[in-house]
Each structure stands twice: as C-alpha cells, then as structure tokens.
Symmetry: C2
Subunit: 129 residues, 2 copies
Amino acid sequence: MGKKTLPKPTDSELEILQILWQNGASTVKAVNEKLNEKKETGYTTTLKMLQIMYEKNLVVRDENERSHVYKSAIDKNQIQRVLLDKLLETAFSGSAANLVMQVLGNSKPSKEELKNIKELLDKIERERK
Amino acid sequence: MGKKTLPKPTDSELEILQILWQNGASTVKAVNEKLNEKKETGYTTTLKMLQIMYEKNLVVRDENERSHVYKSAIDKNQIQRVLLDKLLETAFSGSAANLVMQVLGNSKPSKEELKNIKELLDKIERERK
DNA sequence: AACTTACTACGAAACTTTTCGTATGTGGGG
DNA sequence: CCCCACATACGAAAAGTTTCGTAGTAAGTT
C-alpha cells in the first residue's frame, strides 16, 4: 500500500542501471565512459538520461560535489523481477517452466550453475510438502 | 545467408503475436476482441498494427476472403529466444543461472513442471561428458 | 580580473511506437 | 438499384524515447 509500482525502465535506462549496479555510485563522466565502451554516446546524452532517470526516481544523486554522483535507486532484483514477469506474461503465456527450459537449452550453464539450480529445485520441492 | 535477422517486436506487437499463437489464424475482428479482453483498443488501431506487422513480415495474411486472415509469420520459440537472450544480456549480465533462479523463486512451478526441468538438467549433464 | 576548463540545465529536434479519424470499397438485403 | 453494414487503406496526430546543441555557472589558473 502506498507503494508506487515501479515503471519498466526503457532499454537505454537499463543499460545505465546496469553500469550503476556494476560500478556503484558514479559520476556522469564515469557512466559515459562505460557506455562508450559499447557504443558511442555524447556526454550530454548520458547526462540527460541520468537527469530523466532522476526525475523518474530510478536513480538518486548526491549534489554535494560539483560533479553529481548518481546511483541506482532501485534494487537489481526488483527490476529483474519486473522484467522477467513481464516477459513471462507476454512471451511465455505465464509458463515459467517453458521459460526456464528455453534458457537452459540455449545457454551453456556451468557445472557449478547446474548444481545451484538443482539445489533450488530440491528446496522448492521440500517446501511444497 | 540471406536470412534476415528478426527484429525484436515491440510490446504491442508481442501482445498481438501472443494472440495469434494462441488462437491460430484470425481476422482483425477476432484479434481485436481478444485484445479488448485486456484493454480497450479501437478496431482501426488493431488493424493498423496488423498492417504494420505485415509490412515487417511479422505476420502473413490471406486476402482471399473479404476479411483478411492473419497469422504469425514467425516461430514462437524464435521470438522467445530473441527476447530471452536480450533480457539475459541487459538485465542479468548474461548469467542464465541467475535468471533461472529468479523465475523459479517467484513463480510456483507445478510438480509436473519441476519434473520436466529436472529431466532437462539431467540431460544437459549427461551430454556434457 | 580575464581566461579556460569542466560541469549542469534546458529545450528542442529526430526517431519510434501507438492510436485513431476519415476516406473508400464491396457485397448483400430490401 | 440503392443503401447499409462491415471491411481495408491511408495519413497524420499523439505519445514516448533518445540524442544533442547551446547556454549558463562555478572553480581553478595565469
């Protein structure tokens, strides 16, 4: 209650959130540099994106220094969940099992990862009873 | 070769593809009605979407009857894969295991589904050797 | 103090996606 | 034959997203 539903971030926003999650609080400059490792992006473009995200409360910022420092305002897991639920709904008709099988089929999970997944499955089964 | 990379469908397009996958070939009217079960949508809006999708080769249509009949031109699995890969990349830093665990954690897979997933895991392990 | 550099803020252009009004065509039923 | 119900086509408005030019401001440098 009173909890605002978090908006699905756009693709660009997500790229930036990704950087913030990975690198922690960052200046515009730092974000822009990271962004440029993947694709050329003007400095003011990055700045603008961060400002927009700030207005949407996707990020918070510290204005104490001359160069503002931004960091993600939302949990990586929360967003993952929002996006995953949406994909599940829109592309998999809600069937989590289908989705899981597609991922496992396409990707090459490591031995370690397989083990973790199995453990989780066991845990779910145990809790089910 | 000569194979066009499939474009990522937009959200609206995906909603419509969903309907076509579920119901098979459909008239605009039928699609529109389904769409309206979820959210109010004008008839011409749906028509336009289908026309756009037709131009993008996301759907094919049979014009023999007065009411054209549309059906998806692409495989559900293909699209699922495109979207999943993208999500994996943009929101999960490529970690399939993380993604899987999120899904399994959030959703309530049935006993049957769990079994299927386990079998798939076993199969992957066996093939790994 | 004037000059340079490194920022932020703002606004608008360029694109993309979504929605819908209007025009137009066609095949019966009266 | 004429109208009406029901389609499609088209174009453009509306809404959302992304990019960037320009202006302004504050902090050091000479």
